[in-house]
Protein backbone atom coordinates (compact mmCIF):
# COMPACT_ATOMS: atom_id res chain seq x y z
CA UNK A 1 0.00 0.00 0.00
CA UNK A 2 2.78 2.41 0.94
CA UNK A 3 4.49 1.39 -2.21
CA UNK A 4 1.59 2.37 -4.39
CA UNK A 5 1.04 5.65 -2.58
CA UNK A 6 4.63 6.79 -2.84
CA UNK A 7 4.95 5.73 -6.46
CA UNK A 8 1.71 7.47 -7.35
CA UNK A 9 2.73 10.66 -5.63
CA UNK A 10 6.07 10.73 -7.41
CA UNK A 11 4.38 10.25 -10.76
CA UNK A 12 1.86 12.99 -10.21
CA UNK A 13 4.54 15.38 -8.97
CA UNK A 14 6.68 14.67 -12.00
CA UNK A 15 3.82 15.08 -14.44
CA UNK A 16 2.30 18.20 -12.95
CA UNK A 17 5.29 20.21 -11.81
CA UNK A 18 5.93 21.98 -15.09
CA UNK A 19 2.47 23.08 -16.22
CA UNK A 20 1.55 24.11 -12.69
CA UNK A 21 4.39 26.57 -12.69
CA UNK A 22 3.72 27.84 -16.16
CA UNK A 23 0.07 28.67 -15.70
CA UNK A 24 0.17 29.69 -12.06
CA UNK A 25 0.62 33.40 -12.53
CA UNK A 26 -2.44 33.84 -14.72
CA UNK A 27 -5.06 31.74 -13.03
CA UNK A 28 -6.13 34.29 -10.45
CA UNK A 29 -6.42 37.00 -13.03
CA UNK A 30 -8.63 35.03 -15.37
CA UNK A 31 -10.93 33.98 -12.59
CA UNK A 32 -11.13 37.52 -11.32
CA UNK A 33 -11.77 39.04 -14.72
CA UNK A 34 -14.34 36.55 -15.94
CA UNK A 35 -17.34 38.83 -15.50
CA UNK A 36 -16.16 42.42 -15.56
CA UNK A 37 -18.84 44.59 -13.94
CA UNK A 38 -18.78 48.34 -14.26
CA UNK A 39 -18.02 48.82 -10.59
CA UNK A 40 -15.12 46.35 -10.30
CA UNK A 41 -11.60 47.48 -11.14
CA UNK A 42 -9.37 44.47 -11.80
CA UNK A 43 -5.60 44.82 -11.84
CA UNK A 44 -2.70 42.49 -12.55
CA UNK A 45 1.00 42.82 -13.31
CA UNK A 46 4.19 44.03 -11.70
CA UNK A 47 5.16 42.64 -8.32
CA UNK A 48 7.00 45.90 -7.59
CA UNK A 49 3.88 47.99 -8.20
CA UNK A 50 1.49 45.62 -6.39
CA UNK A 51 2.20 46.80 -2.81
CA UNK A 52 1.67 50.42 -3.86
CA UNK A 53 -1.49 49.60 -5.84
CA UNK A 54 -2.93 47.76 -2.83
CA UNK A 55 -2.27 50.70 -0.51
CA UNK A 56 -3.75 53.16 -3.00
CA UNK A 57 -6.88 51.07 -3.48
CA UNK A 58 -7.37 50.87 0.27
CA UNK A 59 -7.04 54.64 0.68
CA UNK A 60 -9.35 55.25 -2.30
CA UNK A 61 -12.06 53.09 -0.74
CA UNK A 62 -11.73 54.99 2.51
CA UNK A 63 -12.36 58.23 0.65
CA UNK A 64 -15.15 56.91 -1.61
CA UNK A 65 -16.61 53.95 0.26
CA UNK A 66 -18.75 51.54 -1.74
CA UNK A 67 -18.24 53.17 -5.15
CA UNK A 68 -15.95 50.49 -6.58
CA UNK A 69 -14.43 47.12 -5.77
CA UNK A 70 -10.80 46.24 -6.40
CA UNK A 71 -9.31 42.92 -7.40
CA UNK A 72 -5.52 42.83 -7.48
CA UNK A 73 -3.37 40.06 -8.92
CA UNK A 74 0.36 40.00 -9.65
CA UNK A 75 2.47 38.13 -12.18
CA UNK A 76 5.07 40.60 -13.43
CA UNK A 77 5.01 43.71 -15.62
CA UNK A 78 4.70 41.77 -18.84
CA UNK A 79 1.76 39.79 -17.54
CA UNK A 80 0.00 43.04 -16.66
CA UNK A 81 0.62 44.55 -20.07
CA UNK A 82 -0.56 41.41 -21.87
CA UNK A 83 -3.64 41.03 -19.67
CA UNK A 84 -4.83 44.58 -20.20
CA UNK A 85 -4.18 44.36 -23.94
CA UNK A 86 -6.43 41.31 -24.13
CA UNK A 87 -9.10 42.92 -21.96
CA UNK A 88 -8.69 40.46 -19.09
CA UNK A 89 -8.18 43.27 -16.55
CA UNK A 90 -9.12 46.94 -16.30
CA UNK A 91 -5.64 48.08 -15.33
CA UNK A 92 -2.28 46.43 -15.98
CA UNK A 93 0.48 47.44 -13.56
CA UNK A 94 3.93 47.90 -15.05
CA UNK A 95 7.27 48.85 -13.53
CA UNK A 96 8.92 49.17 -16.92
CA UNK A 97 8.53 51.79 -19.62
CA UNK A 98 6.55 51.11 -22.82
CA UNK A 99 8.41 48.84 -25.25
CA UNK A 100 8.17 48.91 -29.06
CA UNK A 101 6.99 45.30 -28.92
CA UNK A 102 3.98 46.13 -26.73
CA UNK A 103 0.56 45.67 -28.34
CA UNK A 104 -0.86 48.78 -29.98
CA UNK A 105 -3.59 50.92 -28.43
CA UNK A 106 -2.30 50.82 -24.86
CA UNK A 107 -2.25 53.89 -22.67
CA UNK A 108 0.59 54.07 -20.12
CA UNK A 109 -0.47 56.27 -17.19
CA UNK A 110 2.40 57.26 -14.94
CA UNK A 111 1.47 57.01 -11.26
CA UNK A 112 4.73 57.22 -9.28
CA UNK A 113 8.48 56.83 -9.38
CA UNK A 114 10.71 54.31 -7.64
CA UNK A 115 14.45 54.35 -6.95
CA UNK A 116 16.81 51.55 -7.92
CA UNK A 117 19.83 51.22 -5.62
CA UNK A 118 23.16 49.63 -6.44
CA UNK A 119 23.86 47.53 -3.36
CA UNK A 120 26.85 45.78 -1.84
CA UNK A 121 27.41 43.69 1.27
CA UNK A 122 27.27 45.72 4.51
CA UNK A 123 30.88 44.65 5.08
CA UNK A 124 31.95 46.33 1.88
CA UNK A 125 31.31 50.05 2.02
CA UNK A 126 32.00 51.30 -1.46
CA UNK A 127 32.14 55.04 -1.73
CA UNK A 128 30.56 57.01 -4.49
CA UNK A 129 30.06 55.21 -7.80
CA UNK A 130 30.13 57.19 -11.00
CA UNK A 131 28.07 55.96 -13.92
CA UNK A 132 31.20 54.78 -15.71
CA UNK A 133 32.33 52.83 -12.64
CA UNK A 134 28.94 51.11 -12.45
CA UNK A 135 29.17 50.32 -16.15
CA UNK A 136 32.73 48.98 -15.79
CA UNK A 137 31.76 46.76 -12.87
CA UNK A 138 28.56 45.33 -14.34
CA UNK A 139 29.98 44.90 -17.84
CA UNK A 140 32.90 42.92 -16.45
CA UNK A 141 35.60 45.40 -17.40
CA UNK A 142 36.60 45.72 -13.75
CA UNK A 143 36.62 42.32 -12.09
CA UNK A 144 38.39 42.89 -8.80
CA UNK A 145 37.32 44.99 -5.81
CA UNK A 146 40.84 46.34 -5.42
CA UNK A 147 40.32 48.17 -8.72
CA UNK A 148 37.18 49.90 -7.43
CA UNK A 149 37.98 53.20 -5.69
CA UNK A 150 36.68 53.29 -2.13
CA UNK A 151 35.79 49.61 -1.82
CA UNK A 152 36.74 47.95 1.45
CA UNK A 153 36.43 44.40 0.09
CA UNK A 154 39.10 42.69 -1.92
CA UNK A 155 39.08 39.83 -4.37
CA UNK A 156 36.88 39.08 -7.38
CA UNK A 157 33.57 40.88 -7.86
CA UNK A 158 30.43 38.72 -7.93
CA UNK A 159 27.70 40.28 -10.05
CA UNK A 160 24.08 39.64 -9.10
CA UNK A 161 21.50 40.83 -11.63
CA UNK A 162 17.91 40.05 -12.64
CA UNK A 163 16.61 37.85 -15.45
CA UNK A 164 15.90 39.38 -18.86
CA UNK A 165 12.15 39.22 -18.23
CA UNK A 166 12.33 41.45 -15.16
CA UNK A 167 11.10 45.04 -15.16
CA UNK A 168 13.87 46.03 -12.75
CA UNK A 169 16.47 44.64 -15.15
CA UNK A 170 14.95 46.71 -17.93
CA UNK A 171 15.09 49.86 -15.82
CA UNK A 172 18.65 49.22 -14.61
CA UNK A 173 19.86 48.76 -18.16
CA UNK A 174 18.34 52.07 -19.22
CA UNK A 175 19.21 54.15 -16.14
CA UNK A 176 22.67 52.88 -15.24
CA UNK A 177 24.14 50.87 -18.11
CA UNK A 178 23.10 52.82 -21.20
CA UNK A 179 24.52 50.93 -24.15
CA UNK A 180 26.98 48.85 -22.07
CA UNK A 181 26.15 45.14 -21.82
CA UNK A 182 25.96 43.26 -18.54
CA UNK A 183 28.68 40.58 -18.26
CA UNK A 184 27.76 37.03 -19.24
CA UNK A 185 29.07 35.65 -15.99
CA UNK A 186 26.53 37.57 -13.84
CA UNK A 187 24.15 35.44 -11.77
CA UNK A 188 20.57 36.18 -12.84
CA UNK A 189 18.07 36.06 -9.99
CA UNK A 190 14.32 35.85 -10.35
CA UNK A 191 13.30 38.42 -7.73
CA UNK A 192 14.41 41.45 -5.71
CA UNK A 193 14.42 39.30 -2.58
CA UNK A 194 16.83 36.74 -4.01
CA UNK A 195 19.24 39.49 -5.08
CA UNK A 196 19.00 40.97 -1.59
CA UNK A 197 19.79 37.60 -0.01
CA UNK A 198 22.67 36.85 -2.38
CA UNK A 199 24.31 40.22 -1.68
CA UNK A 200 23.69 39.95 2.05
CA UNK A 201 25.51 36.62 2.29
CA UNK A 202 28.45 37.32 -0.04
CA UNK A 203 31.05 39.94 0.84
CA UNK A 204 32.21 40.23 -2.75
CA UNK A 205 28.79 40.62 -4.32
CA UNK A 206 27.23 43.67 -5.95
CA UNK A 207 23.71 43.89 -7.28
CA UNK A 208 20.77 46.24 -7.71
CA UNK A 209 17.34 46.27 -6.08
CA UNK A 210 14.27 48.42 -5.68
CA UNK A 211 14.76 50.92 -2.81
CA UNK A 212 12.35 48.88 -0.70
CA UNK A 213 14.77 45.95 -0.68
CA UNK A 214 17.95 47.87 0.12
CA UNK A 215 17.43 47.47 3.88
CA UNK A 216 20.27 45.61 5.56
CA UNK A 217 22.57 46.25 2.62
CA UNK A 218 25.03 48.98 1.78
CA UNK A 219 23.34 51.17 -0.83
CA UNK A 220 26.04 52.91 -2.85
CA UNK A 221 25.81 56.60 -3.62
CA UNK A 222 25.42 57.11 -7.33
CA UNK A 223 26.89 60.18 -9.04
CA UNK A 224 27.39 61.80 -5.65
CA UNK A 225 23.82 61.28 -4.38
CA UNK A 226 22.76 58.73 -1.78
CA UNK A 227 20.10 56.19 -2.71
CA UNK A 228 17.49 57.29 -0.18
CA UNK A 229 13.82 58.09 -0.41
CA UNK A 230 14.53 61.75 0.35
CA UNK A 231 17.06 62.19 -2.44
CA UNK A 232 14.85 60.28 -4.83
CA UNK A 233 11.94 62.58 -4.00
CA UNK A 234 13.99 65.73 -4.42
CA UNK A 235 15.02 64.48 -7.85
CA UNK A 236 18.72 64.57 -6.98
CA UNK A 237 19.07 60.78 -7.25
CA UNK A 238 19.12 59.85 -10.91
CA UNK A 239 18.45 56.12 -10.71
CA UNK A 240 14.67 56.35 -10.58
CA UNK A 241 12.18 54.58 -12.80
CA UNK A 242 8.48 55.00 -13.48
CA UNK A 243 5.53 53.01 -12.19
CA UNK A 244 2.68 52.79 -14.69
CA UNK A 245 -0.96 51.83 -14.70
CA UNK A 246 -1.73 50.65 -18.21
CA UNK A 247 -5.18 50.86 -19.74
CA UNK A 248 -6.59 49.93 -23.13
CA UNK A 249 -7.08 53.30 -24.81
CA UNK A 250 -7.62 56.32 -22.57
CA UNK A 251 -9.05 55.26 -19.22
CA UNK A 252 -12.83 55.59 -18.80
CA UNK A 253 -15.39 55.38 -16.01
CA UNK A 254 -14.23 54.25 -12.56
CA UNK A 255 -10.71 53.43 -13.80
CA UNK A 256 -10.35 57.00 -15.07
CA UNK A 257 -11.55 58.36 -11.75
CA UNK A 258 -9.14 56.10 -9.84
CA UNK A 259 -6.09 56.91 -11.96
CA UNK A 260 -6.70 60.67 -11.99
CA UNK A 261 -7.25 60.50 -8.21
CA UNK A 262 -3.81 58.86 -7.88
CA UNK A 263 -2.22 61.44 -10.13
CA UNK A 264 -3.74 64.56 -8.56
CA UNK A 265 -5.20 63.92 -5.09
CA UNK A 266 -3.23 64.90 -2.00
CA UNK A 267 -4.27 61.79 -0.07
CA UNK A 268 -2.91 59.57 -2.84
CA UNK A 269 0.35 61.51 -2.84
CA UNK A 270 0.60 60.94 0.90
CA UNK A 271 0.19 57.17 0.42
CA UNK A 272 2.81 57.12 -2.33
CA UNK A 273 5.35 59.16 -0.41
CA UNK A 274 5.51 56.58 2.40
CA UNK A 275 7.90 54.49 0.35
CA UNK A 276 7.85 55.80 -3.20
CA UNK A 277 8.22 59.06 -5.08
CA UNK A 278 4.99 60.92 -5.93
CA UNK A 279 4.72 62.72 -9.26
CA UNK A 280 5.08 66.45 -9.71
Amino acid sequence: MTHVRVAGAALVVAALAVPAVSSGSNVGVRAAAKKPKATVITMSGSTSVAPLAAKLAKRYLKQFPGTVKFKLAQGGSDVGVADVAKGRVTIGNSSRDPKPSDPAGLNFNKIARDAICVVTNPGNTVGDLSQSTVQDIFSGKVRDWSDVPGASASGPINLVVRTAASGTQDAFQKLFMGSAKIADSAAQKASNGLVQEAVKSDKQAIGYVSLDFARGLNAATFKGTACTLRDAKSGAYEGTRNFWMVTRGTPTGPAKKFISWIQSNGNAAKVISTEWVPLG
Binding site: A14, A15, D78, G167, S185, A198, D202, A205
Partner: protein, 327 residues
Protein backbone atom coordinates in the same frame (compact mmCIF):
# COMPACT_ATOMS: atom_id res chain seq x y z
CA UNK B 1 -31.68 -14.13 -5.98
CA UNK B 2 -32.94 -10.60 -6.32
CA UNK B 3 -30.37 -9.38 -3.87
CA UNK B 4 -27.60 -11.01 -5.81
CA UNK B 5 -28.67 -9.38 -9.07
CA UNK B 6 -28.95 -6.00 -7.44
CA UNK B 7 -25.51 -6.25 -5.92
CA UNK B 8 -23.91 -7.13 -9.24
CA UNK B 9 -25.75 -4.20 -10.81
CA UNK B 10 -24.27 -1.78 -8.28
CA UNK B 11 -20.91 -3.44 -8.77
CA UNK B 12 -21.17 -2.72 -12.44
CA UNK B 13 -22.18 0.84 -11.78
CA UNK B 14 -19.21 1.36 -9.49
CA UNK B 15 -16.97 -0.22 -12.07
CA UNK B 16 -18.22 2.14 -14.73
CA UNK B 17 -17.83 5.16 -12.47
CA UNK B 18 -14.26 4.26 -11.59
CA UNK B 19 -13.51 3.47 -15.21
CA UNK B 20 -14.83 6.87 -16.22
CA UNK B 21 -12.71 8.59 -13.59
CA UNK B 22 -9.61 6.73 -14.67
CA UNK B 23 -10.29 7.66 -18.29
CA UNK B 24 -10.67 11.31 -17.33
CA UNK B 25 -7.24 11.24 -15.70
CA UNK B 26 -5.80 9.65 -18.81
CA UNK B 27 -7.55 12.20 -21.00
CA UNK B 28 -6.20 15.08 -18.92
CA UNK B 29 -2.66 13.77 -19.26
CA UNK B 30 -3.04 13.34 -23.01
CA UNK B 31 -4.52 16.83 -23.40
CA UNK B 32 -1.75 18.28 -21.30
CA UNK B 33 0.97 16.69 -23.39
CA UNK B 34 -0.72 17.72 -26.62
CA UNK B 35 -1.23 21.33 -25.52
CA UNK B 36 2.29 21.75 -24.15
CA UNK B 37 3.93 20.21 -27.20
CA UNK B 38 1.78 22.19 -29.63
CA UNK B 39 2.61 25.45 -27.84
CA UNK B 40 6.28 24.50 -27.81
CA UNK B 41 6.38 23.47 -31.44
CA UNK B 42 7.48 26.79 -33.03
CA UNK B 43 10.61 26.81 -30.85
CA UNK B 44 11.63 23.34 -32.06
CA UNK B 45 10.54 23.95 -35.64
CA UNK B 46 12.66 27.09 -36.02
CA UNK B 47 15.83 25.48 -34.67
CA UNK B 48 15.62 21.86 -35.76
CA UNK B 49 18.20 19.65 -34.11
CA UNK B 50 20.26 22.75 -33.33
CA UNK B 51 17.84 23.30 -30.44
CA UNK B 52 19.59 20.51 -28.56
CA UNK B 53 23.10 21.52 -29.57
CA UNK B 54 25.55 24.00 -28.15
CA UNK B 55 26.00 27.42 -29.66
CA UNK B 56 26.39 31.06 -28.67
CA UNK B 57 25.63 32.14 -25.10
CA UNK B 58 22.19 30.78 -24.22
CA UNK B 59 21.37 33.74 -21.95
CA UNK B 60 21.89 36.15 -24.86
CA UNK B 61 19.65 34.03 -27.03
CA UNK B 62 16.92 34.00 -24.40
CA UNK B 63 17.20 37.78 -23.99
CA UNK B 64 16.92 38.22 -27.76
CA UNK B 65 13.85 36.01 -27.83
CA UNK B 66 12.34 38.01 -24.99
CA UNK B 67 12.99 41.27 -26.85
CA UNK B 68 11.38 40.06 -30.08
CA UNK B 69 9.51 42.71 -32.06
CA UNK B 70 5.72 42.66 -31.75
CA UNK B 71 5.33 41.71 -35.41
CA UNK B 72 4.83 37.94 -35.44
CA UNK B 73 6.71 37.51 -38.72
CA UNK B 74 9.87 38.87 -37.09
CA UNK B 75 9.83 36.76 -33.96
CA UNK B 76 13.27 35.63 -32.83
CA UNK B 77 13.56 31.94 -32.02
CA UNK B 78 17.25 31.18 -32.31
CA UNK B 79 18.18 28.90 -29.44
CA UNK B 80 20.78 26.26 -28.63
CA UNK B 81 19.70 24.94 -25.28
CA UNK B 82 22.63 22.60 -24.64
CA UNK B 83 23.91 24.32 -21.45
CA UNK B 84 20.44 24.02 -19.90
CA UNK B 85 20.02 20.38 -20.94
CA UNK B 86 23.55 19.58 -19.77
CA UNK B 87 22.94 21.37 -16.45
CA UNK B 88 19.74 19.39 -15.93
CA UNK B 89 21.49 16.11 -16.71
CA UNK B 90 24.49 16.88 -14.48
CA UNK B 91 22.43 17.85 -11.45
CA UNK B 92 19.88 15.07 -11.83
CA UNK B 93 22.50 12.44 -12.60
CA UNK B 94 24.75 13.49 -9.75
CA UNK B 95 21.93 13.48 -7.23
CA UNK B 96 20.69 10.12 -8.49
CA UNK B 97 24.03 8.33 -8.27
CA UNK B 98 24.83 9.61 -4.77
CA UNK B 99 21.25 9.26 -3.58
CA UNK B 100 20.93 5.69 -4.82
CA UNK B 101 23.94 4.52 -2.83
CA UNK B 102 22.65 6.16 0.35
CA UNK B 103 19.09 4.95 -0.24
CA UNK B 104 20.13 1.35 -0.79
CA UNK B 105 22.30 1.23 2.33
CA UNK B 106 19.67 3.02 4.41
CA UNK B 107 16.93 0.67 3.23
CA UNK B 108 19.06 -2.40 4.03
CA UNK B 109 19.73 -0.99 7.48
CA UNK B 110 16.06 -0.27 8.16
CA UNK B 111 14.89 -3.71 7.00
CA UNK B 112 17.68 -5.98 8.24
CA UNK B 113 19.78 -4.38 10.93
CA UNK B 114 17.89 -1.62 12.75
CA UNK B 115 16.58 -2.55 16.19
CA UNK B 116 12.80 -2.44 16.38
CA UNK B 117 12.42 0.88 18.31
CA UNK B 118 14.81 2.65 15.95
CA UNK B 119 12.98 1.26 12.96
CA UNK B 120 9.69 2.58 14.33
CA UNK B 121 11.16 6.08 14.37
CA UNK B 122 13.14 5.85 11.14
CA UNK B 123 10.37 4.83 8.81
CA UNK B 124 7.95 7.71 9.54
CA UNK B 125 10.86 10.14 9.48
CA UNK B 126 11.88 8.97 6.03
CA UNK B 127 8.31 9.36 4.83
CA UNK B 128 8.15 12.83 6.38
CA UNK B 129 11.37 13.87 4.66
CA UNK B 130 9.91 12.81 1.33
CA UNK B 131 7.05 15.26 1.87
CA UNK B 132 8.98 18.41 2.82
CA UNK B 133 8.15 21.17 0.29
CA UNK B 134 11.06 21.98 -1.99
CA UNK B 135 11.03 25.69 -1.19
CA UNK B 136 12.11 24.82 2.37
CA UNK B 137 15.13 23.01 0.97
CA UNK B 138 15.74 26.00 -1.28
CA UNK B 139 15.73 28.36 1.70
CA UNK B 140 18.18 26.19 3.62
CA UNK B 141 20.37 26.18 0.52
CA UNK B 142 20.27 29.95 0.01
CA UNK B 143 20.62 30.91 3.66
CA UNK B 144 23.10 28.29 4.84
CA UNK B 145 24.82 26.16 2.23
CA UNK B 146 25.47 28.71 -0.52
CA UNK B 147 27.15 31.27 1.80
CA UNK B 148 29.15 28.48 3.46
CA UNK B 149 30.44 27.11 0.17
CA UNK B 150 31.06 30.58 -1.24
CA UNK B 151 32.90 31.95 1.79
CA UNK B 152 34.63 28.88 3.23
CA UNK B 153 35.17 26.28 0.54
CA UNK B 154 36.07 28.37 -2.49
CA UNK B 155 39.39 30.17 -2.12
CA UNK B 156 39.95 33.62 -3.56
CA UNK B 157 42.64 32.13 -5.73
CA UNK B 158 40.15 29.68 -7.23
CA UNK B 159 37.64 32.46 -7.82
CA UNK B 160 40.26 34.55 -9.59
CA UNK B 161 41.41 31.68 -11.77
CA UNK B 162 38.13 31.60 -13.70
CA UNK B 163 36.90 35.17 -13.17
CA UNK B 164 36.80 36.00 -16.88
CA UNK B 165 34.58 33.03 -17.67
CA UNK B 166 32.33 32.47 -14.71
CA UNK B 167 31.94 33.72 -11.14
CA UNK B 168 32.08 31.31 -8.22
CA UNK B 169 29.80 32.67 -5.52
CA UNK B 170 28.69 29.48 -3.83
CA UNK B 171 25.69 28.98 -6.09
CA UNK B 172 27.06 25.82 -7.57
CA UNK B 173 26.66 22.35 -8.95
CA UNK B 174 27.85 21.06 -5.57
CA UNK B 175 25.09 22.69 -3.53
CA UNK B 176 22.41 21.86 -6.11
CA UNK B 177 23.39 18.18 -6.22
CA UNK B 178 23.72 17.98 -2.43
CA UNK B 179 20.24 19.34 -1.73
CA UNK B 180 18.61 17.45 -4.56
CA UNK B 181 20.15 14.26 -3.19
CA UNK B 182 18.57 14.93 0.19
CA UNK B 183 15.25 15.55 -1.55
CA UNK B 184 15.08 12.39 -3.64
CA UNK B 185 16.75 9.87 -1.33
CA UNK B 186 13.74 9.42 1.01
CA UNK B 187 11.51 8.44 -1.91
CA UNK B 188 13.99 5.77 -2.96
CA UNK B 189 14.43 4.55 0.61
CA UNK B 190 10.67 4.14 1.02
CA UNK B 191 10.32 2.20 -2.22
CA UNK B 192 13.31 -0.05 -1.63
CA UNK B 193 12.25 -0.81 1.95
CA UNK B 194 8.88 -2.06 0.75
CA UNK B 195 10.53 -4.24 -1.88
CA UNK B 196 13.09 -5.73 0.53
CA UNK B 197 10.27 -6.62 2.96
CA UNK B 198 8.56 -8.60 0.24
CA UNK B 199 11.50 -10.98 -0.21
CA UNK B 200 10.28 -14.33 1.23
CA UNK B 201 11.84 -15.16 4.59
CA UNK B 202 12.55 -18.67 3.32
CA UNK B 203 15.05 -17.40 0.77
CA UNK B 204 17.06 -15.62 3.41
CA UNK B 205 16.75 -18.46 5.90
CA UNK B 206 18.01 -20.84 3.25
CA UNK B 207 21.06 -18.71 2.76
CA UNK B 208 21.65 -18.36 6.49
CA UNK B 209 21.33 -22.12 6.90
CA UNK B 210 24.25 -22.54 4.53
CA UNK B 211 26.37 -20.54 6.98
CA UNK B 212 26.39 -17.29 5.01
CA UNK B 213 26.58 -14.21 7.22
CA UNK B 214 23.81 -11.66 7.38
CA UNK B 215 25.37 -8.95 5.26
CA UNK B 216 26.26 -11.38 2.50
CA UNK B 217 22.79 -12.83 2.58
CA UNK B 218 21.22 -9.44 2.18
CA UNK B 219 23.60 -8.45 -0.58
CA UNK B 220 23.43 -11.65 -2.63
CA UNK B 221 19.84 -12.74 -2.03
CA UNK B 222 17.58 -9.80 -1.07
CA UNK B 223 19.21 -7.02 -3.01
CA UNK B 224 19.65 -9.16 -6.08
CA UNK B 225 16.02 -10.25 -5.93
CA UNK B 226 14.70 -6.71 -5.74
CA UNK B 227 16.99 -5.24 -8.39
CA UNK B 228 14.04 -4.32 -10.60
CA UNK B 229 12.45 -2.45 -7.71
CA UNK B 230 15.68 -0.56 -7.13
CA UNK B 231 15.74 0.46 -10.77
CA UNK B 232 12.10 1.52 -10.56
CA UNK B 233 12.82 3.59 -7.43
CA UNK B 234 15.76 5.27 -9.15
CA UNK B 235 13.66 6.06 -12.20
CA UNK B 236 10.83 7.59 -10.17
CA UNK B 237 13.29 9.62 -8.13
CA UNK B 238 14.82 10.87 -11.38
CA UNK B 239 11.41 12.00 -12.57
CA UNK B 240 10.97 13.91 -9.32
CA UNK B 241 14.44 15.45 -9.64
CA UNK B 242 13.82 16.53 -13.24
CA UNK B 243 10.75 18.54 -12.29
CA UNK B 244 12.41 20.27 -9.34
CA UNK B 245 12.39 23.98 -10.12
CA UNK B 246 12.10 26.33 -7.16
CA UNK B 247 14.93 24.90 -5.08
CA UNK B 248 17.27 24.64 -8.07
CA UNK B 249 16.41 28.14 -9.20
CA UNK B 250 17.45 29.36 -5.75
CA UNK B 251 20.79 27.58 -5.43
CA UNK B 252 22.10 26.55 -8.85
CA UNK B 253 23.54 29.90 -9.90
CA UNK B 254 20.99 31.17 -12.39
CA UNK B 255 23.37 31.55 -15.26
CA UNK B 256 23.25 29.55 -18.50
CA UNK B 257 26.72 28.11 -18.09
CA UNK B 258 27.87 24.59 -18.92
CA UNK B 259 30.29 23.46 -16.15
CA UNK B 260 33.48 22.06 -17.56
CA UNK B 261 34.81 18.80 -16.04
CA UNK B 262 38.29 19.69 -17.34
CA UNK B 263 38.48 22.43 -14.70
CA UNK B 264 39.26 19.83 -12.06
CA UNK B 265 37.87 20.55 -8.61
CA UNK B 266 36.61 23.97 -9.73
CA UNK B 267 34.04 22.02 -11.80
CA UNK B 268 31.84 21.27 -8.79
CA UNK B 269 31.85 24.93 -7.74
CA UNK B 270 30.68 26.18 -11.12
CA UNK B 271 27.10 27.46 -11.52
CA UNK B 272 24.59 26.19 -14.03
CA UNK B 273 20.91 26.48 -14.80
CA UNK B 274 18.65 23.47 -15.29
CA UNK B 275 15.55 23.57 -17.51
CA UNK B 276 12.95 23.70 -14.75
CA UNK B 277 14.73 26.62 -13.08
CA UNK B 278 14.87 28.41 -16.44
CA UNK B 279 11.07 28.16 -16.64
CA UNK B 280 10.54 29.59 -13.15
CA UNK B 281 13.00 32.40 -13.72
CA UNK B 282 11.46 33.31 -17.07
CA UNK B 283 7.85 33.19 -15.88
CA UNK B 284 7.59 36.99 -15.94
CA UNK B 285 8.08 36.94 -19.71
CA UNK B 286 5.31 34.50 -20.65
CA UNK B 287 3.32 37.20 -22.39
CA UNK B 288 6.04 37.70 -25.00
CA UNK B 289 4.84 35.04 -27.38
CA UNK B 290 8.08 33.53 -28.71
CA UNK B 291 9.55 33.58 -25.19
CA UNK B 292 6.51 31.81 -23.81
CA UNK B 293 6.78 29.22 -26.55
CA UNK B 294 10.45 28.71 -25.67
CA UNK B 295 9.53 28.11 -22.04
CA UNK B 296 6.86 25.67 -23.20
CA UNK B 297 9.58 23.89 -25.17
CA UNK B 298 11.57 23.46 -21.94
CA UNK B 299 8.40 22.19 -20.30
CA UNK B 300 7.76 19.76 -23.15
CA UNK B 301 11.24 18.26 -22.76
CA UNK B 302 10.71 17.78 -19.03
CA UNK B 303 7.18 16.46 -19.44
CA UNK B 304 8.13 13.93 -22.10
CA UNK B 305 11.18 12.72 -20.18
CA UNK B 306 9.08 12.34 -17.02
CA UNK B 307 6.49 10.33 -18.90
CA UNK B 308 9.17 8.11 -20.44
CA UNK B 309 10.72 7.58 -17.00
CA UNK B 310 7.36 6.66 -15.46
CA UNK B 311 6.75 4.13 -18.23
CA UNK B 312 10.30 2.88 -17.77
CA UNK B 313 9.71 2.33 -14.06
CA UNK B 314 6.56 0.37 -14.87
CA UNK B 315 8.41 -1.98 -17.19
CA UNK B 316 11.43 -2.25 -14.91
CA UNK B 317 9.20 -3.64 -12.18
CA UNK B 318 7.72 -6.37 -14.36
CA UNK B 319 10.19 -9.14 -13.45
CA UNK B 320 9.21 -8.67 -9.78
CA UNK B 321 5.67 -9.73 -10.53
CA UNK B 322 6.96 -12.82 -12.27
CA UNK B 323 8.75 -13.86 -9.08
CA UNK B 324 5.60 -13.09 -7.10
CA UNK B 325 7.46 -10.40 -5.19
CA UNK B 326 5.03 -7.53 -5.60
CA UNK B 327 3.94 -6.35 -2.15
Amino acid sequence: MRRLVRSTMSDKRAERMLGALASVVLLVIVLMVVSVVSKAWPSFAHNGLGWFGSGPNVDHQLADIFNSPADSSHYVYKLSAWPLLYGTALITGGALVIGLVFALLAAIFIVEFAPRPLRRVLEPVVRLLAAVPSVIYGLIGVLVLVPFVGNQLISTHRKESVIYVVQLSGNSLLVAVAILTVMITPIMVALIVVALRAVPVGWREGSAALGVNRWRTVWTISVRAVRPAIIAAAVLATARALGEAIMLSMVSGSVGFAPNPLDGLTFVFEPTRPLAAAIVEGAEGFSVKPYGQTLYAFGAILLLSSLCLSLGAHYAKRPLRRFGLTP
